[in-house]
């Protein structure tokens, strides 16, 4: 992975930069010794590491503004960091950068059940947002698998999804407003607790901009009343193709489950070992969840079963009770860590049209043979967001490189069938150099113009998203 050469001038001025940061922040908010900085050398894309120049852990929007003002004046790149769970290297540092971590900004600032929103500091974890409103019968809908750890700041940066976004949408559909600090320290409020923007939808472009437009310090999020109940059903099939066809039929029939998840045999076994959820042992498994009262759940599941039975399932099991339902989801949401127990792996995140599922799964099998690396598949089938997991051996010379080549081939395949490189994890550094597979020069130029407006000096998270050669002139400028 190529990263830009660090700015030797900035590194030489480390002492002065750290002193200026210390002057505006509490003593425990500035980290500059080599040992402590190791914590920040990577995120969840742990194959790549580089300690930053320094790290800062502010507690308020005013502190964030002061930090960015200093970094702006000193010409220091800043890499924002939520909880560091990015699978795409979104929070990966460079040697000349300051890591701005929002982990201490976890307060709930306002809850309003009448108007159905919550305002939080952006370092608060995804799950604890729901936790804060649970007692009143509400929840925050986007549920990335890392929701126990991941921060709202990172969710906004990557426009995170989750298993239940088939019905509830992803982060951008549940984000009402933000407080954003621009690289020059200016504090901007976008959106609000009310509906639409009156002018250009700047909130819409900030969400998913991978920390390149500003540092989000506060977020106003839509909360929803919890459904009366939910129940998953597991349907096993003898082949991936048939499972894929069943997904299409359910969607076409007009039934909208809250989630349709897919696992192949490798993942079924690995997740079963981990969660003991009672997954049937078969080639392909769909986990379909519906919500409502008992009677509403029965009505929807009856309609789903009629469709599923047309595809000759080898197993059809409803969750017996709440405990099994929890284990079914625990296994699914732990898929990445469960596979991590048996092998090093690389997780991909391309999205494809649902109709291409059978073809793409077959082609991935062929690529697996050709490159000699095993692949497991687990993904959000309802919206075509795939997560092929390529297994490799980090200690075997050349294996990581083979794995990356194979990953690139799979993502190119996703684009070829009309899909995209990343459905919910973000581009980061991981898919940066594949952007030209999906976008023309003009397409990327249009995106980079947006960064030019928010961060004209290209100091915020500059080495991400766009291929280095394409962003070179701007970063130098």
């Amino acid at each position: 992975m190529q990263m830009p050469l660090p700015d030797a001038g900035v590194i030489a001025r480390k002492g002065r930069i750290v002193a200026r940061l210390r002057a505006v922040l509490p003593a425990d908010a500035v980290i500059d010794d080599a040992g402590a900085l190791r914590v920040y050398e990577c995120d969840a894309l742990a194959a790549y590491r580089c300690p930053p120049l320094a790290a800062v852990l502010p507690r308020t929007t005013a502190e964030v503004s002061a930090i960015l003002r200093i970094a702006f004046e000193e010409g220091v790149p800043v890499v924002p960091r939520g909880s560091g769970t990015s699978l795409a290297g979104g929070a990966m540092p460079t040697a000349d950068c300051v890591i701005l971590g929002v982990a201490r900004m976890t307060a709930v600032l306002e809850t309003d059940y009448d108007n159905r929103f919550i305002r939080v500091q952006s370092g608060r974890t995804n799950l604890s947002v729901s936790g804060a409103v649970e007692a009143e019968g509400f929840f925050y809908a986007p549920d990335p698998s890392s929701q126990l750890a991941c921060a709202i700041a990172g969710n906004i940066a990557m426009n995170s999804g989750g298993a239940h976004c088939l019905k509830y949408g992803v982060t951008t559909n549940n984000l009402l407003g933000v407080t954003l600090v621009k690289m020059d320290g200016t504090v901007v409020t976008l959106g609000g607790p009310w509906g639409d923007a009156s002018g250009l939808d700047l909130l819409g472009v900030v969400c998913g901009s991978e920390g390149q437009l500003g540092v989000v310090t506060e977020a106003t999020l839509r909360i929803l009343p919890k459904p009366e109940g939910a129940r998953p059903v597991m349907v096993g099939f003898a082949s991936n193709e048939v499972a894929g066809a069943c997904v299409g039929d359910i969607i076409k029939a007009g039934i909208l489950p809250v989630a349709i998840e897919f696992m192949d045999r490798m993942l079924i076994r690995v997740c079963e070992d981990f969660a003991h959820a009672g997954y049937p042992d078969c080639e392909a498994l769909l986990i379909i969840e519906v919500e409502g009262s008992e009677a509403e759940i029965d009505e929807q599941l009856a309609a789903i079963k009629v469709i599923a039975l047309k595809h000759q399932p080898v197993a059809l099991v409803e969750a017996e009770d709440e405990a099994q339902a929890k284990r079914i989801w625990l296994g699914r949401k732990s898929a990445f860590s469960a596979i991590g127990r048996i092998s090093d792996y690389m997780c991909l995140d391309g999205t494809i049209p649902v109709s291409s599922l059978p073809y793409v799964l077959r082609r991935i099998g062929e690529l697996s043979e050709a490159h000699g690396l095993a692949v497991g598949n687990v993904f959000h089938a309802g919206d075509g967001n795939m997560h092929p997991l390529i297994l490799y051996d980090a200690n075997k010379p050349g294996d990581l490189e083979t794995c990356e080549r194979m990953g690139a081939d799979i993502l190119k395949l996703c684009v070829e069938v009309g899909g995209c490189l990343t459905g919910e994890h973000g581009v980061g550094i991981e898919k940066r150099d594949l952007m030209s597979v999906q976008f023309s020069g003009a397409d990327m130029e249009a995106q980079m113009r947006v960064k030019d407006v928010f961060d004209p000096e290209w100091l915020l998270n500059p080495a991400k998203v766009f291929p280095l050669e394409i962003s070179a002139a701007r970063r130098a400028g």
Partner: protein, 360 residues
């Protein structure tokens, strides 16, 4: 000017020597822009429709009615229920899907299914330099690069001319029921709407006008009957039920602001918080239609009340003059937000020729 394809559109914009007024059907245009009319009606037709994937890709000049007919053949629809403002605004013409996107036109179901921008998954456009740009695509989940799709929705032709738009569409429900709630004053009637929105019964419409509150549920027949029953107990007042076509007609009236269509006076569209809805309108002596549980307020007021309305809304939303003469149409933005918007416009349209001044 009426380009027949993207290449012509690109040439026309690149070669334009004077400002252009970008137009679909002109049925929902607001604002002050002038210039030579560039009509998108020649960019028409369905590019791709996969009902099994809930995906529709369509050229921007395609009539909205045609899009809706194509979807209806497969018992699908645009979830965001775009309003038809022709009667309200006294306009003829054929509404285009590009115009719907350019104004982020969203109806009552916004409270449940989101706005136009939430259903929009891809765009193709020609910017002010004539450059052809694509963003998003045809898949539901896509975080590859920046989300210019959202930026373009509601940009009113000031950043580029849309040539193609892609949507996530929705299956039509098996059943639809509206609770008509009478016998409540405005405060209690609005509170009933908020209670419905805060319930787990997944309401898809919550509005009030002419002394009646309306609450809609849609879905499978058994589920709709169950939820209507629960809601009846929750909202209070005297409840009657309207089903199917009768229910749909009630929501068309709210969506298209029909109660104000044949009345004189200005029409304002106010976006605010549901709990502020009654207060915002209390001192304005105007007829009111509340949608989105009170989060959207349509006001029919005497002309010249702009300053008063702006003051009532200040700090809790914003107001747009949808019908009426004089005064700014769009609310002012905070200086730092306006600076960002101006910066984007300057980069997407450096010569300032696309709907110049329209959003000012």
């Amino acid at each position: 000017m009426r380009p027949a394809n993207e290449a012509e559109l690109s040439d026309m914009v690149a070669g334009a020597l004077a400002p252009l007024l970008v137009r679909g059907g002109g049925t929902r245009t607001l604002g002050q822009a002038t210039g030579e009319v560039l009509e998108t009606g020649g960019l028409s037709g369905v590019e791709l429709y996969e009902p099994g994937a809930l995906t529709l890709v369509v050229r921007a000049g395609t009539p909205l009615a045609q899009v809706q007919a194509v979807l209806a053949d497969e018992r699908q629809r645009l979830a965001f229920e775009p309003p038809d403002l022709r009667r309200l605004l006294g306009r003829d013409g054929v509404s285009t899907i590009g115009g719907v996107v350019a104004t982020n036109a969203s109806g009552p179901r916004r409270v449940q299914a989101g706005a136009c921008r939430d259903a929009l998954i891809g765009v193709r456009l020609v910017d002010g330099t004539g450059s052809l740009i694509k963003n998003g695509g045809r898949v539901m989940k896509n975080v590859t690069g920046y989300d210019l799709v959202k930026l373009l929705a509601g940009s009113r032709g000031t950043l580029g001319v849309l040539s193609e738009v892609s949507f996530k569409v929705q299956a039509m429900p098996e059943a639809e029921v509206t609770l008509i709630i009478e016998g409540l004053g405005d405060a209690a009637g609005l509170e009933a709407l908020r209670r419905a929105l805060g319930s787990p019964y997944d309401v898809s419409g919550v509005a009030r006008h002419s002394g009646r509150s309306l609450v809609r549920v849609e879905g499978m027949a058994g589920s709709v009957a169950y939820r209507a029953g629960r809601l009846r107990a929750l909202v209070g007042g005297e409840v009657t039920l309207a089903e199917a076509a009768e229910s749909a007609a009630l929501w068309r009236a709210v969506r298209d602001v029909l109660p104000f269509a044949d009345r004189p006076g200005d029409v304002w569209r106010i976006v605010t918080l549901p709990t502020a809805a009654a207060e915002v309108t209390a001192r304005l002596e105007a007829e009111v239609i509340w949608d989105w549980g009170g989060g959207l307020v349509w006001l029919n007021a005497a002309p010249g009340r702009g300053a008063e309305i702006a003051a009532a809304v200040a700090g809790r939303g914003h107001a747009t003059l949808v019908r009426g003469e004089g005064g700014p149409v769009f609310p002012p933005e905070a200086a730092e937000v306006a600076a960002l918007a101006a910066g984007l416009k300057a980069r997407f349209d450096p010569r300032g020729i696309l709907n110049a001044g329209m959003m000012a």
